[in-house]
């Protein structure tokens, strides 16, 4: 490994000129383009959840579960790679590793810390069910890139959804301890559901162009599906809580900054390093 590069004067100037509330050392890569924004939303959801799941590597309850979670992570990171490459003319790594937290467009649900295994499964159930329905609809998009990506990813995500449902049922309908942990995990994640179905101006425009599906079109199906899994798991749905919104506009919990610091540390310290 090379030693740390010397900080140059123009880098200090660049930091001093950073806009208020904006990116402090990576220039913002946001464009005023709803389609570009949408690619980032999908890509960031997948990348951030993939990174979260990868944190389980070597720590999961059992070797087989370790591999299960790593497989989900690799599916998700693969989706993000395609989306970023498409959004950035083949240089997806720049979007993943040289973008600051305020430019990330993922939903709050995926950036939530892993917690215990039950909370990770709760997060996976709530996200994979949404992602499965979304990609199912998106595979009929007239946009050939989105349709192609969704057609491939929908099979991966169907498995994620199935696995998360199976685990939810086993933990919920398991011991008193596993049921309690599963209920706590759902309780933690529940307030992030409304954001998945939020339609803002960006989404409105893409829906009007008929490029992407309106998530409200499958919101009822989503709620019924989650209710079905919870019933089989003998779990009560948590009470509705004040929804937390803003991820699609770059407003995130503090957790995302820490996740990005870990994930981006090497490529940002040693730009263009190869290994």
């Amino acid at each position: 490994m090379p030693s740390l590069p010397t900080i140059e004067q123009d880098q200090i100037r660049h930091a001093k000129n950073a806009p208020d509330g904006g990116a402090f050392d990576a220039p913002s890569q946001m464009r005023d383009d709803p389609y570009h924004d949408y690619l980032l939303r999908l890509g960031d959801d997948s990348l951030v959840l993939g990174q979260r799941l990868a944190e389980w590597c070597g720590h999961a309850p059992g070797l087989e579960v370790d591999l299960s979670l790593a497989n989900l992570a690799l599916d998700l990171i693969g989706q993000a790679t395609h989306l970023y490459d498409h959004a950035n003319d083949g240089d997806g790594d720049a979007l993943a590793f040289h973008r600051d937290v305020l430019d990330y467009r993922n939903c709050w649900l995926v950036e939530q810390p892993n917690g215990d295994f039950a909370r990770t499964i709760a997060r996976q159930l709530l996200f994979s069910t949404y992602q499965h329905l979304l990609y199912r609809e998106l595979s009929a998009s007239p946009d050939p890139f989105l349709a192609g990506l969704a057609a491939k990813a929908v099979k991966e995500v169907a498995y994620h959804r199935e696995l998360a449902s199976d685990w939810t049922i086993r933990l919920g309908d398991g011991t008193a301890e596993s049921a309690g942990r599963m209920a706590d995990g759902l309780d933690w994640c529940w307030r992030f559901i409304p954001e998945l179905f939020e339609v803002d101006a960006v989404l409105e425009e893409l829906i009007a162009r008929q490029t992407v599906p309106d998530p409200r079109g499958f919101e009822g199906e989503y709620k019924a599906a989650i209710a079905g899994v919870l019933a089989e798991a003998k779990l009560e749905a948590p009470a509705d809580q004040r929804p937390i919104l803003g991820g699609r506009r770059g407003h995130h919990s503090e957790h995302l900054g820490h996740l990005l610091a870990v994930m981006q540390h090497l490529p940002r310290t040693y730009p263009d390093a190869r290994w």
Binding site: H59, A60, P61, G62, L63, E64, V65, D66, L67, S68, N71, F117, E162, L163, D166, W167, R170
Partner: protein
């Protein structure tokens, strides 16, 4: 893999069999721990088919397998040792016949 969270070490063992492609028999590839049949299949999929190893999976509870006793290997297997005429080595197999 911390023991105090209970995963894995108290789950039953399952034997995993994979059919690599159509027309081939399922072959034993290893084993997984899992709490029930459905998750045994998921664990087998996640552990043994990550590199396109197969198109079909079987999992079987390890304790359902009836195994021969190593102490009986004399009477069971040694009588075959001098029956070379049972091997199909006395004629040529056509090149087009695969998997023999």
């Amino acid at each position: 893999m911390s023991a105090e969270v209970g995963g894995g070490h108290d789950w039953p063992l399952w034997e995993v069999f994979i059919r690599s492609k159509g027309g081939m028999a399922h072959r034993h590839v290893g084993s997984v721990h899992a709490p029930d049949p459905k998750l045994a299949l998921a664990h087998a999929r996640d552990t043994y088919t990550r590199r396109q190893e197969g198109i079909s999976l079987w999992v079987i509870p390890s304790n359902a397998i009836v195994a021969s006793d190593p102490a009986d290997s004399g009477p069971l297997f040694e009588p075959a040792e001098d029956k070379v005429y049972r091997h199909p080595t006395f004629y040529d197999i056509p090149d087009v016949v695969k998997h023999i």
